[in-house]
């Protein structure tokens, strides 16, 4: 699906208009949740299934290639923006982009993580600046998703759970594409259900993933399941 989407958009080109009369803003709100509540960093949550508490200290991830398109794929709008969603910066959870008016978009897609063109072309600024703590120093590449927390069930030193999920080169290309139905709403809530991540296996066995490898791939493949449109 993504392959054909990319080829269509490459032919028709991204429509980037700044004309206020012909565009409308749509709002994206990213809301990570635990136990169906909006996540608060540093707060302890009891996770049934794990039968223990977990506290998340850090959650950051890259969203790129936000794309809207109609069913026939004749109208495709790709936002050129790359968003670093960071729980420590509440403003980063609310994003907007201008889209052409009068088109009946029916699907929304975005990628979780960055493509190889960004990863291979040198130093970048803004949300991609390496000072943002999302670039590896010992090996080139961005961390697509960083999640850190603690749980007494985690056998690591200081019970620290550390997921730095990245890698863009085959066979460890961890970037994920997500596609959703879209209902024309100008305000879109994107929920991230962290309970699906806080499984017993992840906390007691796979609690530390910090380089591009098979474990990171397996972890990344499960990430799209966490996201949904709506509460």
């Amino acid at each position: 699906m993504l392959g054909s989407l990319c080829s269509v958009s490459a032919q028709s080109g991204a429509i980037v208009s700044t004309d206020k009369d012909s565009t409308q803003d749509i709002q994206f709100r990213f809301q990570p949740q635990i136990n169906s509540e909006p996540l608060k960093l540093g707060r302890s949550y009891y996770i049934s299934g794990l039968e223990d508490s977990v506290s998340i200290e850090k959650l950051k991830f890259y969203i790129a290639e936000l794309t809207l398109y109609n069913a026939e794929m004749t109208h495709v709008h790709i936002s050129p923006a790359t968003f670093l969603i960071d729980m420590e910066d509440s403003a980063s959870l609310q994003r907007s982009c201008a889209i052409p008016k009068g088109v009946s978009y029916q699907k929304l897609s975005f990628s979780l993580g960055l493509d190889s063109a960004i990863q291979c072309s040198g130093a970048k600024g803004g949300e991609l600046d390496p000072t943002r703590g999302m670039y590896w120093s010992w090996q080139s590449g961005y961390i697509n998703l960083k999640l850190e927390g603690t749980s007494n069930s985690c056998p690591a030193r200081n019970h620290l759970i550390q997921y730095h999920i990245g890698g863009f080169q085959s066979p460890y290309n961890t970037r994920q594409s997500l596609v959703f139905e879209y209902d024309h709403s100008p305000s879109i809530l994107i929920t991230m259900d962290l309970n699906k991540l806080l499984t017993e296996k992840n906390i007691t066995e796979n609690f530390q993933i910090m380089s591009p490898n098979q474990k990171a791939m397996d972890f990344a493949k499960n990430l799209p399941d966490l996201f949904r449109i709506g509460p």
Partner: protein, 342 residues
Amino acid sequence: MKSNLIVLLICAFTGLSFTSERVLYLLYPSHFPAPTYNLTDNPLLQESIDLGQMLFYDPILSKDYSISCASCHSPYNAFAHTDHDLSHGINDSIGTRNAPALFNLAWQTSFMWDGAVNHLDMQSLAPLSHPSEMGENIKDVVEKLSNTMRYRTAFYNAWADSLPTGERFLKSITQFQLTLISATAKYDRVMAGNDVLSPQEAMGYALFKDHCGSCHTEPLFSSYGFSKNGLPVDTTLDDYGRYRVTKNDEDSLLFKIPSLRNLSYTFPYMHDGRYLKLNEVLNHYNILEAGMIDDSALSRPMNLSSKDKVDLISFLMTLNDTAFVLNPQNKFPQSLQMRSKN
């Protein structure tokens, strides 16, 4: 000499108009290929090169203000760490690899002995963050620079904004490193028709082309690819080279092929600096036998006689670029000599 240099035009530069008249070009001889670094993404300005040079020589980059890039990449040694097998860092720590010489970086597309870094801009993050090198992180370095008036001025001059950012920091260091071009060795004069090889050097050149030139490709004297060179693993380091990056068994013991330019300045040799003398390197390759390693380029024994080895080394000495090593422009900058706290 100037007439042998051609100018690379940055035709596509369409950046801010206030800088467009000041954009500089890389100079290199006509027997060099075009550089691979994309200057349109980072147009060269004297002010950014100067800033990069300040950063390169300033120990402010390390956690405890003790180690600069130049600590292990000295201009007097073609920007290598002569006489040290492994790199040094803060708190007297010792790294795991030999600090490579720095020159002709505009022609390289991967960096570090294992190719872990895919762009020159991002290379300095590796020593900056390594606990046995500078032990710092880029966020804190940028903050330290922001609090230093000298750097706020230098960033303003280079980037029309006094605010240091990670991107500007990295691109400035890149700019200085791009200017480190070694292209004025005797070999280069010969290629330009301004000098001739002695009979002994010419015999060495023939041996070089027969035995070395497929990996140490002219005129940069490296293909900048990776190769297994048959060295046994040093079990105190357990370094398997490119395998660490790709996790692919076939890449075990692949290391970056270094350039043979400036060999007189860059000893000790190999990725772990295990050979102090060039003769030891030649002896290693001379005794490699078919089947010892699966690299076809090295599967044919060299069988060099003692005389052959002397001839070969005499040619390799024509790759020493004294003018580059002594170039005062590349050395510790004036701007750092007047130290003030702020």
